[in-house]
């Protein structure tokens, strides 16, 4: 495999693609659909807030390795976070995947594994799909699917 491919499909991403964490529905949670019209992929995220804290977070749906792994890693990263910190991480994640690949990636712990998409402009939206859905859910859920476009 070439370097940039290795960078994109790191072991942590392949692992979360194979065995996505929190891959389930949550009853009584805010449900938000995310849709990438470029590829037709749909993910549903479930966000359960309690006292201004993300008590539980999960997702379902079909997608590519990048979108699944990103959603899976996201559920781990956001669980237990206060609302303000969750929103901040969304902003930091967006900034990381859209920053120029010539710059060193911002360290976001395990999420830094997704910085490899910067070399693949057509795949950035795959990485941000679940995040856009969660951000909408944190803002009270949109009636229509959140689109990456």
């Amino acid at each position: 495999m070439m370097d940039s491919l290795q960078e994109l499909y790191q072991e942590v991403i392949l692992d979360h693609n194979r065995r996505p964490r929190n891959f389930r529905a949550i009853a009584d949670a805010t449900r938000q659909e995310g849709y990438n019209p470029l590829c037709g992929d749909r993910l549903v995220v479930y966000v359960a807030l309690e006292d201004g804290v993300v008590r539980d977070l999960s997702f379902e749906g079909a997608g590519c390795a990048i979108s699944k792994a990103s959603a899976s890693l996201m559920t781990e990263a956001l669980r237990g976070k206060p609302l303000a910190a969750a929103r901040q991480l969304f902003a930091d994640f967006q900034a990381m995947v859209t920053s120029p690949s010539s710059e060193p990636a911002r360290d976001l712990g395990k999420l830094t594994a997704l910085a490899g998409v910067r070399e693949f402009p057509t795949r950035v939206k795959c990485a941000s799909l679940a995040w856009h859905a969660v951000n909408a859910a944190l803002n009270g859920a949109a009636p229509a699917p959140v689109s990456t476009e």
Binding site: M1, L5, G40, R42, A62, A65, I66
Partner: protein
Amino acid sequence: MATTDTAPATTATTAAVTPYAVALLREEFPILSERIHGKRLAYLDNAATTQKPREVLAAIAAYYETANANVHRGVHLLSERATAAFEDARVEVAAFFHAAQPHEIVFTRNATESINLVAHSWGGANLSAGDEVLISAMEHHSNIVPWQMACARTGAQLRVVPIDDRGALDLEAFRRLLGPRTKIVAMSHLSNALGTVNPVAEIIAAAHAVGAVVLVDGAQAAYHMAVDVQALDVDFYVATGHKLYGPTGMGVLYGKTALLEAMPPFLGGGDMIASVTFEQSTWNVLPYKFEAGTPHIEGAVALAAALRFIQRVGFTWIGAHEAALLAYATEAVQAVPGVRLVGTAPVKASILSFVMDGVHPHDIGTVVDRAGVAIRTGHHCAQPVMARFGVPATARASLAMYNTRDDIDQLVAALHETRKVFA
């Protein structure tokens, strides 16, 4: 022109492709020698757009260097040259599709616009509540949405002919759905997502028997097989230049004279009028009634060059070459563990849609791209087809005249690599 000398013999019996012939043909396409991520380019996304031979590129430059002016209006020599080049192109397009008259060829932006023109103009004048528009379950969005819009405007109803598990049209269902309410049948000649070739002659004859007109979407077919609109007796046939080894932004609509004459204009503006006053305007004759505004002049000129190129190679050779390569590719791709084909109709051409166990098509697309292989991944603007086969997307390799076994071998090697990454 090198191709005149090097294009292989076009008799069916000698159409077996020699590597020598294809190698020479490939030299006519400069982009094929581009390096992609440092690798040889295996361009297998021809159903999205084909690459352009040198003489098409030269035709565009020559037009701008020697003839550029606006058409149909100027009295100066350059305008005469531009008009002649543009109208000569129409004559060549008409001959390519075997239209009876050049004015039966309307230039549009693309096949999508051609369908919209018919759905809007013919549909507006001929559809009303109680009428039915019959399409198929394998259509591209461009042959679904314009009809949905026409139905919404007129109160007509959209009916859909199902396809079977191989992706072939259900002809029995087609005959059942066809009836006195059917005003128009709109179907693809060759499915972009599945590769299915529809029996259009049979469809047209059956539709005519109940008094319906037929539009055939030839966007995918026209660069793979000879199309004779008079022999087919088709009412409307649409195609697009950029899949015919020509430029983008250059679409074709063929329509029978009587139908086009009876239709109101589509877009209003310059060139499409005979006279204008603030009280009333009158329409120009065919085909100008449907060509408002300054047209894509160099597009028409370049399309004519592309059609000359295709005809020199010849559809007998192209058909035999692509059929042999599709058979080779079908076997080779299917032999990759975990790969399943989507679209296995008995009559197919040029398109190989597939999925791989446990690997999303987008991930396939990214890995093979790094190996120099260009394929399409996604829903191919045919979401109902994806739903029919229960997949969110497929990977699609699609062939053109310049593809070789090397391209297929490179794809297959990249698919093995993909499996390794996601093992």
